[in-house]
């Protein structure tokens, strides 16, 4: 199983900060597609993705226990 973290607008749209999902052996691109479908979150397309707190490309394959975070365009500072 994997923990999926959502922030900012994505979090509000999903109505939760965290989703449990089995994404093992799926690519980040596949996980994106899955979430986009399940939650109607077009914003996912313009979000970056972090696996275990580090930015990851779409072709990275998820392993058991990985934490996946969707990072909408940031606005700190």
């Amino acid at each position: 199983m994997n923990k999926i973290l959502l922030f900012a607008r994505l979090q509000e749209k999903a109505g939760q900060a965290e989703v449990e999902l089995d994404a093992v052996n799926k690519s980040i691109a596949e996980v994106k597609a899955l979430l986009k479908e399940n939650y109607q979150m077009e914003e996912i397309d313009t979000s970056m993705v972090a696996v275990n707190e580090e930015y990851a490309n779409s072709d990275v394959v998820v392993k058991e226990g990985d934490t996946i975070a969707f990072i909408p365009p940031v606005s700190g500072g």
Partner: protein
């Protein structure tokens, strides 16, 4: 909380951040303080709400410190960013960079704030009298992700 790079829910103390980079080798300390501005393009902000992916954000702040040391090996950097609800004039971020000579302290400090706006997972929600919105994509100066992006000022 990292020793020199951290996210805080409490008000930030400028002196505390400066103290972390004060040292005998440095003759210059540049500090950048980001505060909550009331008006952006004529629109009045009531308050801001900052959210962060805290452990990753602290790592990314520390990474910015490392990037600075690659470019300016003599620099010492400390960065604190506040999250939660912030009112007008509250401090959102404090960056302090010390270097032996002043030019580098300005350049490295500027580099730090630009990188924060690029890679650190922190989000700002603006609350106005007639609504609220998560702001994003500041480097391109537009609000995200409305259909037709509204121009947003850079802090």
């Amino acid at each position: 909380m990292n020793d020199k790079f951290w996210i805080s829910e409490q008000p930030l103390n400028i002196q505390e951040v400066v103290d972390l980079v004060t040292r005998r080798e440095a003759g210059a300390i540049n500090t950048f303080i980001g505060t909550v501005r009331e008006f952006t393009k004529g629109k009045r902000t009531l308050y801001l709400e900052y959210q962060s992916y805290v452990p990753m954000a602290e790592k990314k702040l520390a990474q910015i410190g490392e990037e600075i040391n690659e470019k300016w090996p003599d620099a010492e950097t400390a960065i604190a960013h506040r999250i939660g609800r912030l009112d007008i004039t509250d401090i959102a971020v404090v960056i302090a960079v010390s270097t032996p000579h002043r030019a580098d302290s300005y350049d490295a400090s500027r580099y730090a704030i630009e990188r924060i706006k690029e890679i650190v997972p922190i989000w700002k929600k603006e609350h106005w009298e007639n609504g609220e919105e998560w702001i994003g994509d500041q480097k391109e100066q537009k609000a995200y992700p409305t259909g037709h992006p509204e121009e947003e000022d850079l802090t």
